[in-house]
């Protein structure tokens, strides 16, 4: 074998690895390493500025499990996740079905639904904070028109959860709708035609043909939304009038999410060890919820 041939064979053998390597290098540096380092930090009494103050084993984790603020944050996170993800995905499905029809100015509408997603989340939070202002907010003004007393959106648990969820729903519905739309367009048209010939209603066609046909896509959005929902941070953090000064998510922690709690512990109270423990527990929770979601969603989707 000539030198050139040898090189050629090496080329076909190893070049693919070289080409995919950047992803794994980047993942290793920015994903795996921080994950492992966080695990290491979480086993120590670790102060943000001064660093390692000694090995404490699982003490941070046992403290965490007995910490009512942690459970409160977990409950808030789940509540916010359910309040925002469920309506969001249903709305996205409906929106996609509408966009899938032969609308006039189709491109305009399709691009339009993505707009909320392009706007900076900080700007969204600022605008919504103003809409949901207690004394001079538009939402309360509108409620006043129909005779409902003004709501203190930040002070009440359910009200704050609704307000924050509305931000998330507004921001992500269009994004998911476009993903559904893309999937819907690949559904074979003859399926629809034969259903129409059999006299099926639009509703029936939607639930019996469209939805089952885009099952994998629904699954994908459910999992992505789960991961995003469990890491909710910027919207509630900016909704908090105390901002990063407190980071407690309202005066009674009524809308403090897990990531906000992590931030409070790590970056306001400088307890990096404890904060790392929160990060790892959050990682586990996301894994568990994603797996549960996956199985449930697959079962529902396969029934169609």
């Amino acid at each position: 074998m000539s030198w050139r041939d040898k090189l050629g064979r090496l080329d076909t053998k190893y070049t693919p690895y070289v080409i995919i390597a950047p992803f794994f290098v980047v993942f290793g540096v920015f994903g795996l390493y921080p994950l492992l380092h966080t695990a290491w930090v979480s086993l120590h009494d670790w102060q943000l500025i001064d660093g390692d103050q000694g090995f404490v084993g699982l003490a941070n984790y046992t403290a965490l499990l007995a910490d009512p603020n942690f459970w409160n944050a977990l409950g808030n996170t789940i509540s916010l996740f359910l309040l925002s993800t469920v309506p969001q995905l249903f709305a996205a499905l409906g929106l996609a079905a509408l966009l899938d029809r032969g609308l006039r100015g189709r491109a305009f509408w399709r691009a339009g639904v993505l707009l909320p997603n392009v706007i900076s989340v900080a700007a969204v939070a600022l605008v919504f904070a103003q809409l949901f202002g207690r004394d001079f907010g538009i939402v309360n003004a509108l409620l006043g028109v129909v005779g409902i007393d003004p709501v203190d959106w930040r002070a009440q648990t359910w009200a704050s959860h609704l307000a924050i969820s509305s931000m998330v729903v507004w921001r992500w519905t269009g994004y998911n709708a476009l993903i559904y739309l893309a999937a819907m367009q690949s559904v074979p048209k003859d399926l629809y035609e034969s259903a129409m010939l059999d006299g099926a209603s639009r509703r029936r066609v939607f639930w019996s043909i469209t939805v089952p046909s885009i099952r994998p896509t629904i699954l994908f959005t459910v999992i992505v939304s789960t991961i995003g929902g469990m890491q909710l941070f910027v919207e509630p953090q900016l909704f908090d009038p105390g901002g990063t000064a407190t980071g407690t998510g309202g005066d009674d922690r009524q809308f403090q999410t897990l990531v906000m709690y992590l931030y409070e512990k790590g970056f306001r109270l400088f307890d990096a060890g404890y904060s790392s423990a929160v990060a790892w527990v959050l990682f586990m929770v996301v894994l568990v919820v994603a797996v549960v979601n996956f199985t449930v969603a697959r079962r529902i989707a396969s029934k169609g």
């Binding site: 050139r4 090189l7 050629g8 090496l10 080329d11 190893y14 070049t15 070289v18 080409i19 390597a21 950047p22 943000l48 500025i49 001064d50 660093g51 600022l126 904070a129 103003q130 202002g133 207690r134 004394d135 001079f136 203190d152 002070a155 009038p241 105390g242 901002g243 990063t244 000064a245 407190t246 407690t248 005066d251 009674d252 970056f267 306001r268 109270l269 400088f270 990096a272």
Partner: protein, 424 residues
């Protein structure tokens, strides 16, 4: 073959870019100039001064970085922890400096460059706040200070049948108890307006007039649960909230600005630096409607910062020189005229140029005199190393009273419990 070569050159280029990327951060500019960065929050009034300094020192280039106050300190903590990224000169607020004093090994001891000779420039307490190890370690040079006054809206006072002249208003409330009585009068006459923006600021003002707050001066131990002054201040401020005489606003928040614009509250505690915030929030249409009176309970300190030099910087000596120049009396005077930030040096705040300053927006109030007088009688409260951790706990508790979620005593008990944990 050519494919492999392309891949490996790409990889090499990527690696080079990564290394180059990591190597950045300050240092010398290509033209041989010394590059200094200064990290601040709010408005320190440095923009013009820096230009002048650059003109006088052609070999120095200064970059100003401004972020929001809380973010600034959090960022600084992370940068100190990571060992890189901090500005060559960083501002540290009075409420946070005790926390950073714990990690003084991350900062340059300015005494090494002769800072101790400057001691006489500052009010003694200001100098002490910026130093540690019995004054042998100089962590930061004082910038402004925040002696206290009380701002009030003349039109709302008039509507409530209260005096509007600033002397007479100051005499209404020699003590905070009397301030509460004025609140009752005000609310009875004008029930649709709030007397004060937030209970939190009243609480802080009262507490800042005591010698000790949450921590003991002697050994820095937590005394928030046993110091009667803390409970007194809390109860006084909370009673305004219980009676719905506060706007229940988070201080200096977006809502606070809106409420200012809508003229929905009549008084607010105002340290010198707060005048600029009130003016910005209330806008031009409220010019002349706000005025400044003496605060109940005499003077007090609220805010004011220090300039420190993190060790990770490459040019500590040049950084020190700039910090020294920016905090010198001559510059402090000019900053006061520009932004209203009160000098922390007697030579500056006693200067006729400062004492004769009036603020047109605040109905031509003689702010130089008001704040200067307040500064004279000022005895700052002791701040513990964990002050910044404990303070938000009590603020949240007051907010719970204002929103009607808890009674004053329940809120206080919960706060004390949480504070004990936070101070551990």
């Amino acid at each position: 073959m050519s494919r492999t070569r392309t891949a490996s050159t790409t990889a090499a280029a990527l690696a080079a870019a990564l290394v180059a990327g990591c190597g950045g951060g300050g240092g010398d500019a290509g033209d041989g100039k010394v590059k200094l960065s200064i990290g601040i929050f709010s408005d320190f009034g440095y923009t013009n001064l820096i230009e002048e300094y650059q003109a006088a020192h052609p070999n120095i280039e200064v970059e100003q970085r401004t972020v929001k106050m809380e973010q600034h300190h959090t960022q600084l903590a992370t940068q100190l922890a990571g060992g890189r990224g901090a500005a060559d000169i960083v501002a540290i607020e009075e409420g946070n400096i005790t926390q950073f004093r714990q990690s003084k090994d991350k900062f340059v001891n300015l005494a090494d460059y002769g800072a101790k000779e400057l001691e006489g420039q500052w009010a003694a307490w200001k100098w002490n706040q910026g130093t540690t190890d019995d004054g042998n370690f100089v962590l930061g040079l004082g910038t402004d200070m925040g002696s206290l006054a009380l701002c009030y809206r003349r039109d709302l006072f008039e509507a409530a049948g209260l005096p509007t002249d600033r002397e007479a208003v100051g005499k209404l409330w020699p003590t905070w108890e009397e301030y509460l009585e004025v609140a009752d009068t005000f609310s009875a006459k004008t029930p649709d307006k709030k007397f004060v923006d937030t209970a939190q600021n009243v609480y802080k003002a009262i507490l800042d007039q005591t010698e000790e707050g949450y921590f003991a001066k002697a050994d820095d131990s937590f005394i928030g649960d046993s110091n009667p002054k803390v409970e007194q201040a809390f109860t006084l401020a909370a009673s305004l909230g219980e009676k719905k005489q506060t706007g229940a606003l988070a201080p200096f928040s977006q809502d606070w600005n809106v409420a200012l614009k809508q003229a929905s509250f009549a008084t607010t505690t105002c340290p010198a630096w707060a005048l600029a915030l009130i003016k910005a929030g209330a806008g031009d249409e409220a010019a002349g409607k706000w005025d400044v009176a003496a605060a109940p309970g005499g003077g007090g300190n609220w805010g004011g910062s220090f300039l420190a030099v993190p060790k990770q910087g490459e040019h500590p000596k040049e950084a020190y020189e700039l910090a020294k120049w920016l905090t010198a009396p001559e510059q402090q005077k000019r900053i006061f005229k520009e932004t209203g930030n009160l000098p922390s040096e007697p030579a500056a705040y006693q200067d006729p140029e400062v004492t004769s300053t009036v603020n047109e927006y605040f109905n031509a109030a003689p702010v130089g005199q008001i704040f200067g007088n307040s500064a004279e009688s000022l005895e700052p409260t002791y701040r513990g190393a964990k002050d910044a951790k404990v303070t938000p706990v009590f603020n949240n508790a007051l907010s719970r009273v204002e929103t009607g979620k808890q009674s004053t005593s329940d809120a206080f008990d919960q706060a004390v419990g949480e504070a004990r944990d936070a101070a551990k």
